[in-house]
């Protein structure tokens, strides 16, 4: 078949800029981590697992209900924690941006800059409204002890002799 050459020049494909969901933005995740540490952590510091749990709880109503159910019940020991690499990456940014530091015991704490930043977020009542509501509800109930209990349970659950 005699092909008709319709295209005389080369075709160049340009990649279009890709949309990024808001919860994968550096600004959003980093701010959320700072805010959750300010609202849900006491003086002793905050573990990575806790940050993962909090970050997952604010992401949708279902996970929120799961975490609140876990916190309000003394009988439920099983809880599935979703480890999101995005949180780890955001935490890296928090550390290099000097918002958070890691203590010798491995737990994380807000630096003065981090505290100032989260205070500024708290002052603006219009941002992170829903997230704030959930974090306020969780408040200080998710203790490190509870998390240790949970990880111990993981360790033992499938242990066989």
């Amino acid at each position: 078949m005699d092909g008709i050459n319709l295209v005389n020049t080369d075709i160049i494909f340009d990649s279009k800029p890709e949309a990024v969901p808001y919860n994968y933005r550096i600004s959003y995740k980093v701010s959320l981590i700072c805010l959750s540490m300010a609202l849900c952590c006491g003086r002793s510091g905050c573990s990575l697992i806790k940050l993962q749990m909090l970050s997952n709880a604010v992401s949708n109503p279902e996970t929120k209900a799961q975490l609140l159910g876990f916190l309000n019940s003394n009988l439920r020991r099983q809880f599935l924690v979703r480890f999101d690499p995005v949180v780890n990456r955001a935490l890296d940014f928090c550390i290099v941006d000097n918002l958070i530091y890691q203590q010798a015991n491995g737990l994380f704490r807000l630096t003065q800059k981090g505290k100032d930043f989260s205070a500024a977020i708290k002052d603006d009542k219009d941002i992170l409204k829903i997230e704030r509501e959930i974090l306020d509800k969780i408040s200080l109930n998710l203790t490190e002890d509870k998390i240790t209990e949970l990880t111990d349970y993981w360790r033992n659950i499938n242990a066989t002799n």
Binding site: S15, P17, E18, A19, V20, Y22, Y24, A120, D124
Partner: protein
């Protein structure tokens, strides 16, 4: 106008009663002391307090007052606890004199209570003097008859304009806002023009105050605008109702009415003639033709003898036809119902997506705000810079391939907004389609009922005795004659509705004309003249007080949008040094008074300034300022609190004629 005649303050302490009692004249009154912290500001605060405008200082009721009124008073012998404190302010509007009494600390007396004695301070305890109590800082204090500011408004003989609040509710322009333009307080009054104005949720409050003081016509315009806009929405609503009625009746009668505008417009004379009604099914013929046809059919049926025996075969054929039609209609309904289900699902899905996107936009806007907030806190990663190696990074926590471009938050918001628009469009078209199908199903069902009835009559006829009357023919005749009547009534109905539209269109025409006239008024000639005068006064004042931050002072303009001084369309404040900023406030405050007097505006004819000599303002300029106040003569009153702590100022004060100097000495309260 408002004049302060006399102020009397009584403070009862544990040791004795302290008194400040001085009279004020028209023209310039100087409240002086040799040093700071002698009680000048406390005296001036008493005036704010008695007038119920202490919000300008920064709060309501006694908490804004200095400690001498509330806790401790100091004298040479020590500090004495305050037991009671009260203030009396004698004011006049030119004809009547009243005394305002308000307590700052008195057991059993509410600080929100202001007692008005209809006499001077001297005669207030005379038995025949009328006394009335009013309240300040309570709900509706500005509009209630027992509100003190309602009294003050009447006493001053002004009508405060109704303005829009930030939540679009109509409110009276508060007196506190107006006084903030006349009384400049020491602590925050000198940071800018109108900087002491309290926030009372009035839209464009600064602009409205200037408009009121200068007596600009825009208020009248706004009022007319709001009348017109309510008329506009009324017409639109009535128009919509008429159209709705037409739509409902037309589908009931299986007709379509053409050439009816769906939104208000000015219709031409031939509008009524152009309205055309036609059949909505089959061939789109005119309603008159349809009626004629129906009448013909009706007449034909009349000639048929309604006996069954004559048309047995015909009945059989007709029954088949009708049954065909019934099954066709049934299958039509089924098809439509399938489509309806599909559309319902569509709408449900679209609505969910729409909500999700709306939430996404909110979250992205949050992320944007957080990014800006983080930049303020020097978070490098928020600005797309790696805090470790200082290289550019993309704003994403997902692994980014080399060369891949990531949307910025702004782009993302735009992208989502575009999606939202698309979804709302899809939603709307689906909803329209759903409404159409609903109507269609209803229509077919109505038809079906008729057909079933007809089929039933046909069947009855087929099985009846030969000599019986044919039920079908009678039923047909009846239904046709009913249809004809209905259609005739429908035509009449549409006619009267169309006439309604014509009337509405006349109103619409009038409204548009009025609107056009109003926009011509944009900046009335009179307003222009007033603003020019204001600008001249302002610039003249600036020159007098040796404003030097701008080389060419004649370039300064009063903005027609905000009535603030601008240079090259930018706020003049940005170009001013600290002391020049003070000069600008002098020039503006005095300019308002000068202009209002010239053009018959609403200025109360009083200004009160606490320590106008802020920053490095020289005594020469202060003299120029005092001179311009004195030039206004007796027709206005200025009360100025000033510390005489250098020989320059002392010389000036001593050199001034016709002024009332009240020296508080070592202590204002003795």
């Amino acid at each position: 106008m408002l004049r302060i005649n006399r102020l009397k303050v009584l403070i009862k302490a544990t040791n004795k009663e302290y008194i400040f009692d001085e009279s004020f004249n028209s023209g310039l009154n100087l409240l002086t002391s040799d040093d700071n912290t002698k009680g000048k500001s406390s005296v001036l605060i008493a005036i704010y307090y008695c007038l119920g405008v202490e919000e300008i200082i920064g709060g309501v009721n006694e908490k804004v007052l200095t400690s001498v009124y509330k806790t401790v008073i100091e004298d040479d012998n020590g500090r004495w606890p305050v037991l009671e404190s009260e203030m009396f302010l004698e004011i006049t509007n030119g004809t009547d004199v009243v005394t305002l009494y308000r307590a700052a600390k008195k057991e059993g007396r509410d600080t929100k209570l202001v007692t008005v004695y209809y006499s001077s301070i001297k005669d207030m305890y005379n038995g025949i003097v009328g006394v009335e109590d009013f309240y300040v800082h309570m709900q509706n204090a500005a509009t209630n008859v027992n509100g003190f500011h309602t009294f003050l408004e009447n006493f001053l003989g002004v009508t405060l304009p109704v303005v829009l609040s930030t939540d679009s509710v109509e409110r009276k322009l508060y007196l506190q806002l107006i006084f903030a333009a006349l009384f400049i307080e020491q602590k925050n009054g000198w940071s800018g023009i109108y900087s002491g104005m309290p926030y009372l949720a009035i839209k464009d409050s600064k602009k409205k105050v200037t408009e009121f003081i200068l007596g600009l016509n825009t208020f009248d315009k706004e009022k007319r605008k709001s009348v017109l806009s309510s008329e506009e929405s009324a017409i639109k609503e009535e128009w919509k109702e008429v159209i709705q009625e037409i739509i409902i009746t037309q589908s009931k009668e299986q007709c379509i009415v053409n050439n009816i505008p769906y939104r208000p417009e000015i219709v031409n004379d031939k509008f009524l003639e152009h309205i055309n009604i036609c059949k909505s099914f089959g061939e789109r013929e005119d309603i008159q033709l349809w009626i004629e046809e129906l009448m013909k059919e009706h007449d034909e049926l009349k000639t048929v003898r309604p006996k069954v025996i004559d048309n047995y075969d015909e009945l059989q054929i007709e029954l088949e036809k009708v049954e065909d039609l019934i099954s066709e209609s049934n299958s039509n309904i089924e098809q439509l119902q399938v489509e309806l289900r599909y559309i319902r699902n569509n709408i449900f899905g679209l609505e969910q997506n729409y909500e999700k996107i709306a939430q996404d936009i909110v979250n992205n806007k949050d992320a944007q705000k957080l990014r800006d907030l983080g930049s303020e806190h020097q978070c490098l990663s928020f600005n797309g810079i790696c805090p470790v190696c200082r290289q550019e990074i993309s704003d994403s926590l997902l692994p980014v391939q080399h060369g891949e471009v990531v949307m910025s938050i702004e782009e993302n918001i735009r992208h989502l907004t575009a999606q939202k628009v698309m979804l709302s469009y899809a939603l709307e078209s689906n909803r329209n389609r759903k409404a159409y199908i609903d109507g269609k199903i209803q229509e077919i069902r109505n038809q079906l009922i008729m057909l079933q009835r007809l089929a039933k009559s046909l069947r009855n006829d087929l099985y009846s005795v030969d000599e019986d009357l044919s039920e079908t023919i009678i039923y047909k005749r009846m239904s046709i004659s009913k249809k004809i009547d209905d259609l005739k009534l429908f035509i009449e109905n549409i006619d009267s509705l169309a006439k309604k539209l014509v009337k509405l269109s006349e109103r619409w025409n009038k409204l548009l004309t009025q609107k056009a006239e109003l926009s011509k008024l944009e900046f009335g000639k009179k307003d222009k003249v007033i603003l020019e005068k204001f600008q001249n006064h302002f610039v003249k004042n600036l020159k007098k007080y040796r404003y030097t931050s701008i080389s060419n002072i004649t370039d300064v303009e009063i903005s027609k949008d905000s009535y603030m001084p601008v240079i090259d369309k930018f706020d003049m404040k940005f170009d001013s040094s600290a002391s020049d900023n003070i000069r600008a406030i002098w020039a503006y405050t005095l300019g308002l008074l000068q202009t209002s007097r010239e053009v018959g505006g609403n200025h109360f004819g009083i200004i009160m300034l606490d320590e106008p000599g802020q920053h490095s303002i020289g005594s020469e300029d202060t003299k120029a300022f005092f001179d311009s106040i004195s030039m206004l003569g007796d027709k206005c009153q200025a009360i100025v609190g000033i510390t005489i702590n250098n020989p320059g100022i002392r010389g000036i004060v001593e050199g001034l004629d016709n002024i009332n100097v009240i020296n508080v000495g070592a202590r204002a309260f003795k």
